[in-house]
Amino acid sequence: MNLGNNILLDAYHRMKAIREFEERIHVENTTGEIPGFVHLYAGQEAVATGVCLQLRDSDYIGSTHRGHGHSIAKGCDIEAMMLEIYGKKGGLCAGKGGSMHIADFEKGMLGANAIVGGNPPLVIGAALTAKVKGTDGVAVSFSGDGASNQGTTFEAMNMAVVLKLPVVFIFENNGYGEGTGCDYAFGADSIAKRAESFGMPAVSVDGTDFFAVEAAAREAVTRARTGQGPSAIEASAMRFYGHFEGDPQAYRSADELVELRETGDCLKIFRAKVEKDQLVTADALDQIDREVADLIDEAVDKARKADFPTSDDLLTDVYVSY
């Protein structure tokens, strides 16, 4: 299927924004101004983007500790995200959540989640809402290869099939869960096959190939939207950085990292493809690069200057009423 110029530019914009966001945090993190843990998504941009392009604001996604990419792809405000990551009051979660808890219900972003396997059960709940209310809403769960071994994830898959919920389970296989290789932690051969054995269609795609992800996601989301129940997609794409910022990555060889940048960069692959097939112009992409760079510059700048919450804010927002 031909995606059309606008969609391709939109896709590139989202992917580039994610990349730039993450690369910049990687740099800024060394200043000590960013509190806590950050887990960067760079390298996996085509997955979040290929999937979220299929979704509307009223559709929901659930995310992980590595959630910046999903948030940006789903349309969260980049400046408000950056403020949140810096712990500022104007952040998307008022500074209370930080990198691991970015959420924006207006944009259908149910939340990053610091519990591995935490989001799949929640996502089937969002899908249940759509089903009970009879809307054509869809809910998508993003999980890592590591999270695919968590009991909560399995339960969510079975329940989604039983209740025929409009869900798509995305498994991003980036080769590692923390410092342990996927091949070690995963007993079977294929996450997709295992998901399939739960009673839903499942495919494996190259997660560095935006077009492959996009096609698989389109099919799965359409299936969900038209009442045909859940499906699963395993998308393989390695992360460029460590598990968290500061991870020395001794579990990865230097060669692996070099090769990754050369052959596993979804942005390069996208650019090469669209330029070769003359789908969009290099100029248009360059223009996006500049826009995105400015956007992120400004976001970092604002985030650094913004105010922290004050201790008055400590006690608010625990309950709606108490």
């Binding site: 008022a94 219900f105 939340g111 929640l122 709940g125 079975n158 329940m159 039983v162 625990v318």
Partner: protein, 334 residues
Amino acid sequence: MSKKTIREALNEALHQEMARDGQVIILGEDVAGGHGGTGVIDAYGGPLGVTKGLIGEFGANRVIDTPISESAIMGAAAGAAATGLRPVAELMFVDFMGVCFDQIFNQAAKFRYMFGGKTKTPMVVRTTIGAGMRTAAQHSQCLYHMFTSVPGLKCVMPSNAYDAKGLLIEAIRDDDPVIFFENKLLYDLACDVPDESYAIPFGEANVVREGGDVTIVAFSRMVHIAEEAAKTLAAEGISVEVIDPRTTSPLDEETILDSVEKTGFLVVVDESAARCGMAADIAGLVVEQAFDALRGPIIQITPPHTPVPFSPPLEDAFIPTAGAVCDAIRKLLK
């Protein structure tokens, strides 16, 4: 108005709320039952019969039988609540919290705070508690002290049918996650319950019995143990005030503190835990806030620090008794 058991009162509350608000759904294991079998649907109506008849009235789209997957049930409820429904999820026995606690205490309870106040999670988890049914260590616990300690959760434990109905309706209408603890041994206890819908606000204790010599704070079934003790002591000329907080979170601190200001003595009767339980919580509150009024030690009457035993004489010795309460109070006032 007519006499209804707690089971009937809860069922009526669910009926009325589901009829009133199409966003209210029920989900859990065998909340209807019979799906995929050769017999009838609604074969269970909840393992303890509380949700009977609901599927007939509201259909399988709103009364949802699930696989035995508590994490998925609680997660689905939380996710649905955050996106526009008002789920009432059933955790058959609170003892099963261990396979699904994350979705309750790290997810549902913390959403609002972590997300900076930008969401609400109006879900209810109905669950059963309590020893006395000879169901041994994994089906007899109370555990509400753990939930009470979690910021973001509300905890409710009715001791009679009137409260059961009013508090469940309140729970369903409440915009925060509420854990609703039903004592298995109280389901058949009846009292007058209005037919019409009504809500009892959280954080308002019920002074079950007024008295001037000593205050008892008791929860759930222990309220009845306390009342029994109070009656016995009344015959001995000791006037006991019995307070049923009804909700532990929020807690009506004022009613408890006022009572202790009046009586000077406090006994807490609670089945949850000998350590870090509700009894310690109330004692800690009072010795911090009403120290000057205290005229003697605060006595905690709880089960011992043991799992719940199976054999009847052991289980009977495990559960706090009116006799033990009376003894403690007699000693206290001597």
